[in-house]
């Protein structure tokens, strides 16, 4: 029997990493053409540190999207976490770590609710997490009477704004980048674990997964919990970097979704890689930096994101027929 080996081109088309790497490379070339020292260590390190939160969120979003769902609540979760942290810490330097633990618990809880409502109550995740988004926004306003109260301690902010200084060759390595690398490594291990592979199967064909003994509800709920955890870490970094504001997480959910889709993660589930999602986030940040250098208004960012989602999804639908 003749075996149809999928040729190389096909791998490129079906959710591989090649397209996103090519796009990122092109953007970097354009960027260095304009700003020759962009790739020098100090500037690159600071860029990576600044990009860390959205890269984290893209990694979290990967798990949700690949399982066939969507998490729209991460942006407002980031805001909520920052506001909660400020109020609980209120300048007290010793409160840092206990509050981080508390935030992690809150992130897990939000993920659990998202997951269980989606799987057990069978509410589409688009609606579930949209509801969660609104609930969190409203609750935070209510809780803080319309203006953020308290303040973050220097201790707490260090993770988001400080760095290992005077590292040979590289200079300054932001803590945020270290957090990012640790999370990226953990995410990569997770996607290769039984859980990670099963999650892709759940997104690819939930019926087959169920009939193979997979607890689909549990796998999807875990994905939402991971997204909640990623949002919590992002919140700690963002709070540290830019301080307390009701706008802390605004729009980040779309950034994360755009990044994942750009990185080849198929909306609807079953296809994509966490590395792709994270590279997608870096690409998006590079694009925004580039736009900035070329004097394009930052107000265009949502428009660009929207266009990317539409284009990426359209491009993904030009798939090789499986005969």
């Amino acid at each position: 029997m003749r075996i149809a080996r999928p040729p190389q081109l096909l791998k490129v088309r079906s959710g591989g990493l090649t397209p996103i790497i090519v796009i990122l490379a092109v953007l970097l070339v354009l960027l260095t053409a304009r700003q020759p020292d962009f790739l020098s260590p100090p500037s690159l390190m600071s860029f990576l540190g600044r990009s860390a939160p959205v890269v984290l969120l893209a990694a979290g979003q990967y798990f949700v999207i690949v399982s066939g769902e969507l998490d729209l609540s991460v942006g407002s979760l980031v805001t909520a976490q920052v506001v909660i942290a400020a109020r609980l810490i209120d300048g007290d330097p010793s409160a840092g770590w206990p509050v981080v633990v508390l935030l992690l618990a809150f992130g897990i809880a939000v993920g659990l609710v998202n997951g269980l409502v989606t799987t057990l109550l069978r509410v589409p995740s688009f609606i579930t997490t949209l509801g969660m988004f609104l609930i969190l926004v409203g609750a935070v306003y209510l809780w803080s009477d319309g203006a953020p109260k308290g303040s973050l301690s220097e201790e707490f902010r260090r993770l988001g704004r400080s760095a290992f200084e005077d590292v040979p060759a590289l200079g300054r390595i932001p803590y945020a980048l270290v957090v990012l690398l640790a999370v990226a490594a953990a995410a990569l291990v997770l996607t290769r674990s039984d859980f990670g592979r099963t999650l892709v199967a759940v997104g690819g064909n939930p019926r087959t997964a169920e009939l193979s003994g997979v607890r689909v509800w549990r796998a999807k709920t875990m994905a939402f919990v991971l997204s909640g955890l990623a949002a919590t870490l992002a919140a700690v970094l963002i709070g540290g970097y830019s301080g307390v504001s009701f706008q802390a997480g605004a729009g980040l959910e779309f950034g994360a979704i755009t990044a994942a889709v750009l990185g080849g993660v198929a909306l609807g589930g079953g296809r994509g890689s966490v590395v792709g999602a994270m590279l997608g986030a870096l690409t998006l940040e590079t694009l925004f930096t580039l736009m900035n250098f070329y004097g394009v208004s930052g107000a265009l960012e949502p428009t660009v994101q929207g266009a990317i989602i539409l284009l990426a999804v359209a491009a993904a639908s030009f798939r090789v027929p499986s005969r």
């Binding site: 029997m1 199967a201 193979s212 607890r215 296809r271």
Partner: protein, 506 residues
Amino acid sequence: MSGLLPSPLLALRGIGKSFLGVRVLDGVDLQVRPGEVHAVVGENGAGKSTLMKVVAGVHQPDEGTVEFAGAPRTFRSPREARQAGIGIVYQELTLLPERTVAENVCLGREPLRRGLVDRRAMLSHTAELLASIGEGSIPPDTRVGRLGVAQQQVVEIVKALALDARLLIMDEPTAALADHEVDQLYALVRRLQEQGIGVLYVSHRLKEVFDLSTRITVLKDGRAVATLDTADTSADQLVRHMVGRELSSYYPGRAKPQELGPVRLTVRGAGNRKLRGIDLRLRAGEVLGVGGLQGSGRSALARALFGAAPFSTGEVTVDRAPVRLRSPRAAIRAGIAYVSEDRKGEGIVAEQSVLDNALLAVRAVRAVGPGRAGRGARTARVRELLAAVELRAAGEDQEVRFLSGGNQQKVVLARWLALAPRILLFDEPTRGIDVGAKSAIHDLVRRLARDGAAVLMVSSELPELLGMSDRIIVMRDGRIAGELPAGASEEDVVALAVGTAREAAG
């Protein structure tokens, strides 16, 4: 122009087609005359579906010409082919289940009246079409989802014919039908034939090919290796053309009495919404065949035993211990495996790799059997199993959607074997699978029984049911209508299935 033979309705010359460098069709010649049923046979992956899609305008050939009704044509889309008079009925149903029969038949060309859809015209038009092919009993205003598979098939055909088709392509039209429904389809095809419609008929079932066709074209590795007059051809000859193997090697031997082990599974007085009063015993080493018409409860029985649509009453024991099969997971933990009839929808994860698919169950249910082994050992074991089922794939990283049906089924089997199940439930294990792979699956099923598994096999293909089973139960109206020993005839099974035989007690 008029010689001894009528001029061809469709003439394909030197058709070639590649997908991204993979040559799927290579210089295919084929002619269909008006009123001819031209069968196209070949193993899966031979290029049958692609060839049909070229004729139907879904794919455009890289080389060669398509001549239809005497003129060279290039169909750039299915729509153009349809308008030229080529209708196609695909293997998978393409109807919208939430829409009515009439809405489906008229989809995309609804009759209009003052700019609005004229529902009355649509209904009467559809009713006429149905009546013209002798299927007037299907109400045009019913939602398609409420019809049985066989009736949906008829709707597909009517839909394909609705634009005065002169050529009808039927791709595995009987895949979802029970035997008496196949007879209706035969009658339908013959009526079309009398009206001068040419039929391109793709099927794995040789019996159908011989019953229906005028000529047969055999495809192998993308080439048309032979075109034969059906009347002058024997089944053996045809199979030789397809796989180079004789028919007689079809079924492996049955279980000898000493090979039968202890009772593995018992069911007493079990039922649910689709099943009533189910009593059965299944022994290690035996293959119990389950026959019956579509909707008789044969699939429901397998699904109930697997916990996918559980029994609500009755008792089930596995190896003498009472079990509650409330979910697939519970059934898997009790040592039961299930190969669904719907391979695409319930068997595979099409976009995952061979290895991921084969590992799915062990990953999900680690606490059972060899799943407890370490990751490396587990993967090694699954690789062995993939080799043992003689999987043919480009590699373990190949996506399952690129495999033929038979090889997909082997991946599903390997997935279950990794859990070393004691009871295997097969629902139509060889549906849509080519002849060569079919007998490989049959051998595997028998080998599993010999190794001590208890096998329950649902099949609507009588030769398979009779050839494989050590014992047969026949379902009717959600009950077991009767039991037959090995060596029963097709007539015995049919008599029980349609209820002309006296029911066995109980």
